[in-house]
């Protein structure tokens, strides 16, 4: 297969960037999208040119490191798929793609397709945990949690923090990411003590980082590799006004 690529190249955080055209030759249908880019990069390196910078690590869709826009959709058009798990057999010979980094004020571009997502860490720092010190825990079976509750908490906890939700959102909102953690912890008995402060602090941090608000369009859910549901945001909002009334 031959694939035509238009790729955003940007040398560093504070400089401008532009689209450049590349062609990937001899693409095998068994390649993942990133392996196809690996091949393009091999060619560039051989020519003494700087390869296209993109992030990736586990390459099995769980670490959340990879991700960029493929022709206007985060991680490409396959549902529940990260770019590392997107295989070229889904495409046709001669297809063209535009590759762009996540774009958001809170996710500054570091180079080419690589962005700084440390804002997500800071949102978790604001309250995405239960305050338990090592060693102080009681026997695990002393906390009974119904299977349906545990399953629902797991649905939210599955978030891989890739940032596709922010990238897809017209407001560059981090509501899906933030709400998934709030929902996970608010469902469980372990998360009850800090329930009120958690939601207020995390929302405040989300705003400080420069993310926008949620317009309930659900583009985030549609592009989420883990299919994290928009319902998490409703839960977050409910937790929020309850917390406001309580505080």
């Amino acid at each position: 297969m031959r694939i035509h690529l238009t790729v955003w190249r940007q040398a560093g955080p504070n400089v401008g960037g532009a689209f450049h055209a590349y062609t990937a030759e001899n693409v095998s249908p068994d390649m993942s999208f990133l392996e196809m880019l690996d091949v393009v990069n091999e060619q560039l390196i051989k020519k003494g040119e700087e390869p296209i910078a993109f992030d990736s690590d586990c390459r099995e869709g769980i670490c959340g490191t990879c991700g960029f826009m493929i022709s206007g959709i985060p991680h490409g058009s396959q549902p529940h798929t990260t770019v590392c798990q997107l295989h070229m057999r889904k495409f046709n010979d001669g297809d063209s793609f535009t590759l762009e980094p996540w774009r958001a004020k809170a996710f500054p571009v570091l180079k080419d397709l690589v962005v700084d997502r440390s804002a997500f860490d800071r949102i978790i720092q604001a309250g995405g945990y239960t305050s338990v010190n090592t060693g102080g825990a009681k026997d695990a079976n002393n906390i009974l949690i119904g299977k349906d509750i545990a399953d629902a908490a797991m649905d939210s906890a599955e978030c891989i923090g890739c940032g596709a939700c922010v990238a897809a959102c017209k407001n560059a909102s981090a509501a899906l990411f933030t709400s998934a953690k709030i929902t996970h912890l608010s469902l469980l008995p372990q998360g009850q003590v800090e329930r009120t402060t958690r939601v207020l602090n995390m929302v405040e941090r989300m705003d400080t980082e420069g993310f926008g608000s949620c317009s309930n369009e659900g583009e985030c859910e549609a592009v989420c590799p883990k299919g994290i549901s928009l319902k998490n945001i409703a839960t977050m909002n409910k937790e929020f006004w309850k917390a406001v009334l309580q505080s």
């Binding site: 993310f211 909002n237 505080s247």
Partner: protein
Amino acid sequence: MRALRMLGSSVGTKIILAFTGLALFGFLIVHLYGNLLAFLGPASYNEHAHELISNPLIIPAELGLVALFLTHIVKAIGNFGKNRSARPQAYGVKKWAGGPSRKSLASTTMIFSGLAVLLFVVIHLKLFKYGPVYTDAVTGNRDLFRLLLDDFHKPGYVVGYVLAMLIIGLHLRHGISSATQSLGIVPESWTMQVLRGGMALAMLMAILFAIIPIAVYFGVIR
């Protein structure tokens, strides 16, 4: 203190927008009831109007309504600005994701449909509430029914009004379900029903509002 400050947060803003939006939607339903009385003839229509106008609570109610409107508008504009600045550099290529996404013409144009509705409300108030005053010879009350007939025999008014109702419908199409989602008041298993219900309700509202000028124009209401 913190509670007040948090109302200015992104989530707080959305909750206020949802709350005021739903309240305004409630007002629209009451308003629609009054409009539909036109089908029963001038007596019912004018009597209902008179009851409203002569009620001593009308002033505080109107002030409340103005407050709702202003809050909704001010918050929406501020929110729009913040959201714009959250993505300073636009994408070269951006597509809708499809699948479970609810993105629609309505959802992407809320600020514009909202501003269009504002413009309509101003014109509407000027032409109707603060428009020519006819008096009913029998009751001595204001004859708004006559004004209704006057206005909607002009084709331009009919077209303008129907267009405005379509825009309101568009705004509500996303607004109703989005507001319930923002408030988080719907049980999770009901999300889809609320979404579809919201759309149906929006369409129904727009049709029922728009049907009156058409009915007047074609002489069904006279």
